[in-house]
Amino acid sequence: MKISSGTVRLIIPAASLAVLLAAVFYMQPRTMSYTGLNLLFNLAVPIALATIAQMLIMAVNDLDLSMGTFVSFCACVAATFLQTSPAIGILIFIGAIAVYAGIGVVIHVRELPSIVVTLGMSFVWGGLAVLMLPSPGGAAPVWARWLMTAKPPVIPMAIVASILIAAITHFIVMRSSFGVVVRGVGGNYRSVERAGWSVLRLRAATYALAGFFAVLSGIALVGLTTSADANIALRYTLLSIAGVILGGGEFVGGKVSPIGAVIGALTLTLAGSFLSFMRISPDWQIGAQGAILVVVLALRLLLNRLEKREKNR
């Protein structure tokens, strides 16, 4: 049976997650339980959502450097307005998603580099977040808290949520017509344009959808942490990019994989715990996390090369 290149793309991320998980189980057998798994992975849920958002942007050959500050902003809204007066909170979120669509329009119409525009926006979101919550505080909406701490039977919530996110986004991005056209924009926008689609509208829709997932990420984060802070998710910018790449995505060419992105987010979260279990001092953890990334990406290059050689045979 012939394996599609998309499946090959998923082998390395899935294998690296399995290896890492096996190593964690070996070092700390107590994690091999309902509670253990939930604790290992529950912080992965907001990261996975942010990674999906980043992946959507990367599917149209752009990059969002404001992801971290935007998720922080959303977390602050969730911990303040959404909790005290839900209607206003929802309105703010809708506005924020509209702004994301607007960013897509501006980037497309003015042919601006997305990195510059989103870097600028990151200061806007950061500033708004500080205005709302100058000091850490706020409280999670009850339903968000309930959702993130729910205890479904047999499989812990963190795993259920990850699978759900992967399944839904796989459907949207890989199976639906909308997803196909969005990835087409990343692959060759001119041919999409020639076929009569409005690339402007597609970009705006993609950005809006990315904004939506980032909003979900903020709410999920507050559901876990119960309060928010203006700098709560700053590292999500780079984590989300790393997650997409780790999961088999590429910076250009519309080659993305939602399942891979969720796996990438889980791997990154697990890498942190793994290094703690190894008793590596926090000073070295960032470097060690980088080393894990390098190893996984090297494996992927190797696999790509093998695949190419196979093809030429």
Binding site: K2, S177, V181, R183, G184, N188, S191, A195, G196, G254
Partner: protein, 487 residues
């Protein structure tokens, strides 16, 4: 073939003027296409063929003149053109490489809405592929990336001819056979005849005049942004067609020199994949790589290149130069000027103390501009301001300007017009006379015939070697198809 009843105008472009800056791309061109006819469009590179195609498919708004679809000129644009059944296969492949064949079909056919579009798209493209290219073995569930360049072209052609609810009225094919081998090209031409017989129309642009003359009902010749001849195909012969384009037909003088094989080859390679013949090249030889498209010729060129030049640490000595075939993929630097694109390979010899000597660079540019006649007012213009053929000339000049003794060429004449080709052939001959070795992969028989020696490839290995007078179309085809005894 001649229909008596009044034929409808599918698309009519009249008095079209388009200017890009100071360059007049179209200067009052008329092009009318009727239903049930195959119209051939020929002309030099830069004659305005691609521009008028872009006007017809709605991608470009003319500065003057009218475009009407089925008699109405109310609206213009990509959407209008598509709504009127105009489809276009572009010269540069325009599929999305990251998507599968059926997903690409979905993008091109906005009518494939709703649930279950995947299987409908699959069925649509598979039926159409089987109809145009019977006996193909393309898996329509695979990603376009995984297909060879010929297969991509086949898919793109099939997608354009397919129709969800109604068939397209006009299909524009811009150099559709540039990456197809003779067998596939013949299948396409006979399909075009069937499609036209059913009342569709085709606008065929090709540099292979034989195709034009055998397939088209009517031929339009363009030159300098104008239509200079518009007659039925039977009134043309290859010679008159070339004359109409403004070329002087030159009988190909095949004056082959004596055998140049000396004692030590400049480049050699053991039999590929452990079978077939070994490869050897001697000083001053012109060696052809022939065979059907995509049978390992490009890979052989790359291996030859890497055998002298490490992948990790490029050597400073320039022994080999490479002329890429796919201009946009690995040929030009699209943001750079013509001069920079030309001089990039010889910067080492142009610089003193690691700084590029601008005067010497200009001198080099001016010299090559004159020698190969790059048609531009200023070498500092962007490379993309040139037509495709002229871009290719710059790439040739880039390789020839180096001190490299051996030049590898990966089907570089794809989609280049006859006049430019002749000019390049002359340059190649004179360069070979000075002792340069050329290794040339080409899908065109005329070019293969220019070579001193030809290696025929099949399934990744060299199956036959033809020398001098043995190089005929018949021999090359025979070697490409027979199951090699040498294996």
């Amino acid at each position: 073939m001649i229909t008596v009843h009044e034929r409808q105008e599918v698309v009519a472009a009249r008095g079209i003027r388009v200017t890009f800056g100071a360059v007049k791309a179209l200067d009052g061109a008329d092009l009318v296409i009727h239903s049930g006819e195959c119209l051939g469009l020929v002309g030099h590179n830069g004659a305005g063929k691609s521009t008028i195609v872009n006007v017809i498919n709605g991608g470009l708004t003319p500065h003057d003149g009218t475009v009407s679809y089925s008699g109405s000129d109310a609206a213009h644009g990509i959407a209008t053109a598509r709504a009127n059944g105009v489809r276009c296969v572009f010269q540069e492949l325009s599929l999305c490489p990251n998507l599968t064949v059926n997903e690409n079909t979905r993008i091109m056919h906005t009518g494939l809405k709703g649930w279950n579009w995947r299987s409908r798209a699959l069925k649509l493209v598979e039926t159409q592929l089987a109809e145009v290219f019977p006996g193909h073995d393309i898996d329509c569930d695979s990603t376009v990336d995984d297909l060879s360049i010929a297969e991509r072209q086949m898919v793109e052609i099939a997608i354009s001819f397919a129709g969800v609810r109604e068939r397209p009225k006009l299909v524009i094919l811009d150099e559709p056979t540039s990456s197809l081998d003779a067998g596939l090209a013949a299948q396409l031409m006979s399909y075009i005849r069937r499609f036209v017989g059913q009342g569709g129309s085709v606008l065929l642009i090709s540099h292979i005049l034989g195709e034009i003359l055998s397939t088209c009902d009517r031929v339009v010749v363009m030159k300098d942004g104008r239509v200079v001849a518009d007659r039925t195909a039977s009134e043309f012969s290859t010679r008159t067609l070339v004359e109409a384009m403004g070329n002087v037909v030159r009988e190909q003088e095949l004056h082959r020199g004596q055998d140049k094989r000396g004692s030590t080859p400049v480049l050699s390679m053991p039999p590929r994949r452990g079978r077939g013949l070994p490869f050897e090249a001697y000083r001053g030889e012109m060696i052809g790589f022939a065979g059907l498209g995509g049978h390992g010729q490009t890979q052989a060129l790359l291996d030859l290149y890497l055998s002298r030049n490490s992948n990790w640490w490029p050597s400073r000595k320039e022994e080999l130069a490479f002329v890429a075939g796919d201009r946009s993929l690995n040929g030009t630097f699209p943001l750079w000027s013509i001069l920079k694109n030309l001089s990039i390979a010889s910067l080492g010899s142009l610089s003193s103390r690691s700084l590029v000597d601008a005067d010497r660079e200009d001198e080099l540019g001016a010299g090559w501009k004159k020698r190969i006649e790059i048609r531009t007012p200023d070498m500092n213009n962007r490379i993309l301001s040139l037509s495709g053929g002229n871009q290719q000339k710059v790439l040739f000049a880039r390789a020839l300007a180096t001190t490299a003794k051996t030049v590898l060429m990966d089907d570089p004449m794809r989609g280049v017009d006859v006049g430019t080709k002749q000019e390049v052939y002359d340059i190649l001959r004179s360069e070979a006379a000075t002792g340069r070795t050329f290794i040339w992969y080409s899908t065109e028989m005329d070019e293969i015939r220019l070579c001193d020696r030809v290696y025929v490839f099949r399934e990744g290995a060299i199956v036959s070697e033809l020398i001098g007078e043995e190089i005929t179309e018949k021999n090359v085809l025979a070697a490409s198809f027979t199951s090699g005894e040498a294996a």
